[in-house]
């Protein structure tokens, strides 16, 4: 279709993005539309405010963290390609492409997914989930029925379970190991519309 190919041209370096993220061009187009609708002032980038308008996100207990994940590089803005790269973490894992092994690891690979999840915990980016960080997550997600003491002992326990080197914090390796059995593939994938 003429219109779709012309709008694909609007997307900067679409080919490269498709290669890096594994999104199809239909996906990219759709996401680009979304990106533009989020970007109300047509600045070509998004700021945290643009995300906060989303009603569902404000009600999401970890919405703030997710938003922050988009701005993890320390900037206040996110352009389309980084936007897509972040979202690409949530693509279902491609078994075939990974098997080839020749190309770089896609963001949708298991490790990258885990890394993303890990960073949602690890607020200060020191490569470790400290007790305090865990507590904050718990607090955000457990609601008010659970008392702070219980939260703490839960955090304590969770750390203890995963903490192999006894440094009282969970490193990425430990994190990965303790979630070994988890079906990350299913649990951290969204079916993106075309």
């Amino acid at each position: 279709m003429g219109s779709s190919s012309s709008s694909r041209n609007k997307i900067p370096n679409a080919q490269e993005l498709m290669h890096q993220t594994g999104f199809s061009s239909a996906h990219l187009l759709r996401l680009h539309d979304r990106f533009e609708s989020l970007d109300r002032d047509n600045r070509g980038y998004l700021s945290p405010d643009d995300f906060e308008v989303l009603g569902g996100l404000a009600m999401n207990p970890i919405g703030g963290r997710i938003i922050e994940a988009f701005f993890s590089s320390g900037q206040d803005t996110v352009d389309f390609s980084s936007f897509v790269r972040i979202l690409a973490h949530f693509r279902p894992t491609d078994r075939n492409r990974n098997k080839e092994g020749t190309q770089q690891e896609l963001p949708s690979s298991r490790t990258r997914k885990l890394k993303f999840a890990f960073q949602l915990y690890d607020l200060d980016r020191d490569g470790k989930i400290s007790r305090e960080e865990l507590l904050q997550v718990l607090r955000a997600m457990l609601g008010l029925q659970v008392t702070e003491e219980q939260l703490q002992s839960i955090a304590e326990r969770a750390i203890q379970e995963a903490d192999l080197d006894k440094d009282d914090a969970i490193s990425f390796d430990e994190f990965k190991k303790s979630l070994e059995k988890m079906d990350i593939d299913t649990k951290m994938s969204v079916s993106f519309l075309k």
């Binding site: 989020l38 569902g56 996100l57 970890i62 219980q150 059995k181 951290m188 969204v190 079916s191």
Partner: protein, 850 residues
Amino acid sequence: MLRCGYALFWLLGSVLLICVVSPVKGEAVVTREGSHLKLSESSHSNESQHGHSFNITGIPIVSFKWHHVETPYLVAFWVLVSFLGKLVIEANHHVTSVIPESALLICFGFILGGMIWAADKVQTFRLTPTVFFFYLLPQVILDAGYHMPNKLFFTNLGGILVHAVIGTCWNAASLGLSLWGCQMGGAMGDLDIGLLQYLLFGSLMAAVDPVAVIAVFEQVHVNDVLFIMVFGESLLNDGVTVVLFNVFDAFVSLGGPKIDAAEIIKGIVSFFVVAFGGSLVGLVFGLLISLLTRCTKNIQIIEPGFIFVLGYLSYLTAEMLSLSAILSIVFCGMCCQKYINANMDENSVQTVRYSMKAFANGSETIIFVFLGISAIDKVIWVWNTGFILLTLLFVLVYRFIGVFFLTWILNRYRLVPLEFVDQVIMSYGGLRGAVAYGLAVMLDENKIKEKNLMVCTTLIVVYFTVILQGITMKPLVMWLKVKRAAVTEVSLLEKLTNKMFNHTLVAIEDISGQIGHNYMRSKWKYFEENWMSWILMKPSARKKQDQVFDVFHQLNLKDAMEYVTEGERRGSLEFVRNENSIIDFKKKSESESFDINNANMSNDHGAMSTTSRDPIPSVSLEMHEQIMKAVREAEAINAHHLLDQHLYKSRKQHRHRFSRSHFDINRDEKEVQEIFQRTMRNRLKSFTSAKMGVKPPKTIVKHTQKEQQQKMPNGKSMDKAKTSYSGDEGSEGDSASGYDQSYMRATYRAGAGIENPAFMPDLDPMDLLQIPPWLGESELDSSMVALSHRAQVDLPRTPSNLRRLAPLRISTRSTDSFTLENIPDTQQMDSDQLQPPPPPPRPPRDDGYV
């Protein structure tokens, strides 16, 4: 024991019912159909009439009244024999690991049937449709529905429905048409079967049988998704197949010429009405059960009865309305599980689970044994090689074709596509079972001349699939390297991350602007939590819903058990004292007491309520620890008194140490304690002088609280005040009683390494005195100390305020938008409280809160 008794009672009860109802039914069927649907016992009924004609000439001391008890006796005896058979089979593990139990049970049935045949020369016992559909099947299905992993089921609902509805129709149609085609082609000799009869036969053969599937797949442990696809399909397509069967049965009765487009459309409509109507009836009954269990507080002992009776009633109601009874009871079980588990007493939940399994397992056993017994009957064996072999072939081939084709379509929409090997197992797992047989026996011989051939073929297909496919399933799964179910040991982090993923996915769907699966789920959850739970759950149960918390509780329970077992193994629990594991164990047992106390947080007089409320091992653990502590402290206090004092306070005390689990726990504990004792005594004095109405000081660490507790002259009233203070309205701690707050805050700041001398001098001198030891410790583990403050300070506030005590990190680095917004607010609030540190407690501003 009690549960067993209960279960047996139920079984016997149901079996008795069979006896009451079935002879009547059996006779009715006999008169209608002429011969074969005799119930096992009815053949004896002639003899029993002779029994009554004897004249009694005197009073017999003992009389042998076999006919009096014959029917129930026989039924009970059969149940016993089946169970014994299962017992023997299960005793041989090396056999059951190769051959599935269901296959062995059928073989056991063969043997029994052979014995009866040898004795009687006539087959007197067989599975009749009435017994099967009314007394054996419901509990199996109810159990399946009740134990259904709901989330998994609904996540894959689309696929399951496609396979159950379209796949079943495909199986029925293709089998019927192909057989008909083969007959036209002359492959089966001379058979008096028309197209409609073939379709009828196809529809009864179409369904994958849940009983057989559960029996085989339970031992194979394939991955969750594969299991739910096969299992869900087998459950739902039973409904579908019964509907199809009834529709085609009606068509057959109508006869070919009378069927026009209108009738066919009616048939299709009735299909949907029957399926959805049945599900709806189930839902209604499920909700009814949930509502009922909300108010069974005073009759907990019969709570489980409600579930069984209402579940059974939902089955019968649907049957009465000629809706799909199987779907009805499936949805009834699925719908009520969450609410009844939350509403009912723990004991009742266990009873329900246990007896549900007992019934299901029992009837499963009986079903398989009788499937075997039924085979030994000369009448039904009408051999037609072509028909039988072709049926077998078509059943297998069309199953494969159907599954592969449907999965191919589904995979284009599925997030994680089903792999090839999964599809093979799905196809191969298409076991036929007792439902097909039951339906086949229900065929009307007047309308279908070749009924016996059909029954015989059905039996052969059942044997073939259950025995041969059942045996080969496991090797096949191994050989194809199908992803197996991970033996998951739930860990907290896993659960937490899981939950986080859910939120994340919803957020990502929000951001990428699509209304997807996760969005729907979160909407449903919202609705569920706000409406369904509110209506269907006890208020007290609603609070404990959280999954993470639940896992936490279970882990703790497990640990406590292990702890005690370990202790007993070593002869006593004393070993704890000298082991490094002390920390772990203590922490665990201690954190468990949180759970217990959680419920009665509002009345914090833990000691008594804890023991009476929740007689789990943790209590004794704690008591033991208290005793040990008493020895260590060597205080001349009545041990009993101490125990009482400590039982609920102790958790705080432990906490302090556990929070630093990697330090030597006993180091200067005494010292710290003494300091706190002194402080607390002082505080108490200043408190009493400041009169009541003032809250007792906010406790910082457990020592504080404990000591305060001990020295409290009028423990109870103070207790209450304190409880409401810390438990209910933690937030008030921020605004009111700056006395204590300032102290804590100062410690926290200091501990966190912030030099803020500005308000240090302002502190109450008494507080300052305490700080050094505190600091000495908190230096080691500042964050920990800070945490324990928080524990009491600002729990029940809005999320943004929850973070206000972490301004250190937040200010240097934004965590998220919420906190960013809140920082100025937070800091301001902090300074509000901290700068004017009022040594004498303020007049109680917090009365309004309490």
